[in-house]
Symmetry: none
Subunit: 249 residues, 2 copies
DNA sequence: TCTCTGCGTCAAGACGGCATCAAGATCCTT
DNA sequence: AAGGATCTTGATGCCGTCTTGACGCAGAGA
């Protein structure tokens, strides 16, 4: 196992054919302190990563959506948004690994960030070598599974999780909050069966995992809004006794 | 996100199939200091985890192999084996998340452990809350399917346990819940014979281990759905008097 | 050859899960 | 405070799945 990520041929003169070289991992850095940005830009750049930067939470979310990075490095102390908010907003549509940087090293801060959906937490000041090692861990994880895209489309169905917009055959469809959460939950697992328990837990909360009735009602309304023939659904498929599945193609 | 792992479902009405109740996460702890073991035993136990312990590296590897845990917590300072050795040996056949505990907090130690294949590194003395949070992160990863791809294929038969999809000659085949559980149970032991008792116990519950009749009926329906010539099965083989076996290749 | 045992097949009925409708209850906006 | 949208809850019909029993068949042993 090489400790270095992707030694991009230390110094090739020719920008020529990137041929068989694996693509450089893409990282989005959300950090407002210019000093740290400069430092990480230099460090990560020299280790073969491609870096995109944002100085504020909102920008960072946009950047993460457009760049589809392999990893996001996030500073919790941002000027505009609460860092935890950034994590949660990101997790609404993406499973990209998030490494949190923070000047605060209190246990409570770490727990909050990790439970909000971060994958790792590094306190400032940090050791570069450790950060790089944790970055490699995150990349290993990212390589195992897809990081998810904020937009999804099958047939005539389009779901844009950034604009929070759903279309059928190009027509906007209005969904209620619960309908939307149910649909995006399925989108994030498109093609896979999602268990009734899991759906109930994530939409209605951990206390309602027995109310399978809710699912029937809401799958019904969703189908009426999204399917051409709700009785013979093309997108929202039932897996009897198990859960539901969103057709992937 | 609930901070608690998996509230162990207070009380099911039917004593029947172990089916839908989410099982308590299983953890293997490899640690030689009795004091820390006692402490973690109490802490993890009270948070709903099922803990198995080992006091040395070799034992730990055996334990990890037999218990098939969701997470391994590993102390680097073991009497018999070098901690890094344990990580590497484990990684030879398993992708289970590994959280390293260590009294040494040097950067070099962390980098070495993480690059050897560990997923996280916590220095002693550690804060319980943080360890629990990092444990939840590891479990999230495990649940997301980072851990190896349980897809199985022989001949024209394909079983994708992530998508819960079964194909024969590229054609989707619909299986009922019991059929699917029976098949995946065989898949997990592909090539080896699985006893009738075990099949009955794991699919119908511990109370039905005498109803070998069920097996005949369901092996029949499975063969009709999966085999080209159900009377001369290629995949689902009978081991008379013992059990059934899924052809491995 | 006969009998016993274990496996495979078929079919009928019981059972439970799913879809749908509709009526309260609740929340939010105006 | 009124109105509308949304969520919850109950009732009902239907369909697929599971269970259960009966029977045929093959192989082993007497």
């Amino acid at each position: 196992m090489s400790p270095e990520p992707v030694p991009p041929e230390p110094s090739r003169k020719t920008p020529g054919p990137p041929a068989s070289a694996p693509p450089a991992p893409v990282i989005v850095l959300i950090e407002d302190e210019p000093q740290i940005r400069r430092f990480l830009r230099a460090t990560l750049g020299s280790h073969g990563y491609r870096l995109y930067e944002a100085g504020a939470g909102e920008d960072g979310l946009v950047e993460a959506a457009s760049r589809q990075p392999d990893v996001v490095i996030l500073d919790l102390g941002l000027p505009d948004l609460d860092g935890l908010q950034v994590i949660r907003r990101l997790r609404e549509w993406s499973t990209v690994p998030i490494i949190v940087l923070s000047a605060r090293g209190q246990e409570g801060d770490k727990v909050a960030a990790l439970d909000a959906g971060a994958d790792d937490y590094v306190s400032k000041p940090f050791a570069v070598g450790e950060l790089l090692a944790r970055l490699r861990v995150a990349l290993r994880h990212a390589a195992a599974g897809d990081s998810g895209s904020p937009t999804f489309a099958v047939g005539g169905l389009r779901v844009d999780q950034i604009k929070r917009q759903v279309q059928v055959e190009g027509q906007d469809v209005h969904l209620t909050p619960i309908e939307y959460r149910l649909l995006t939950l399925l989108v994030r697992h498109a093609g896979r069966v999602v268990g009734q328990r899991q759906l109930l837990k994530e939409v209605w909360g951990p206390g309602q995992t027995e109310q399978t009735h809710y699912l029937r009602v809401y799958m019904g309304t969703l189908r009426r809004k999204l399917e051409k023939d709700p009785a013979r659904p093309r997108y929202l498929l039932t897996e009897p006794g198990v859960g539901y599945r969103l057709a992937a193609e």
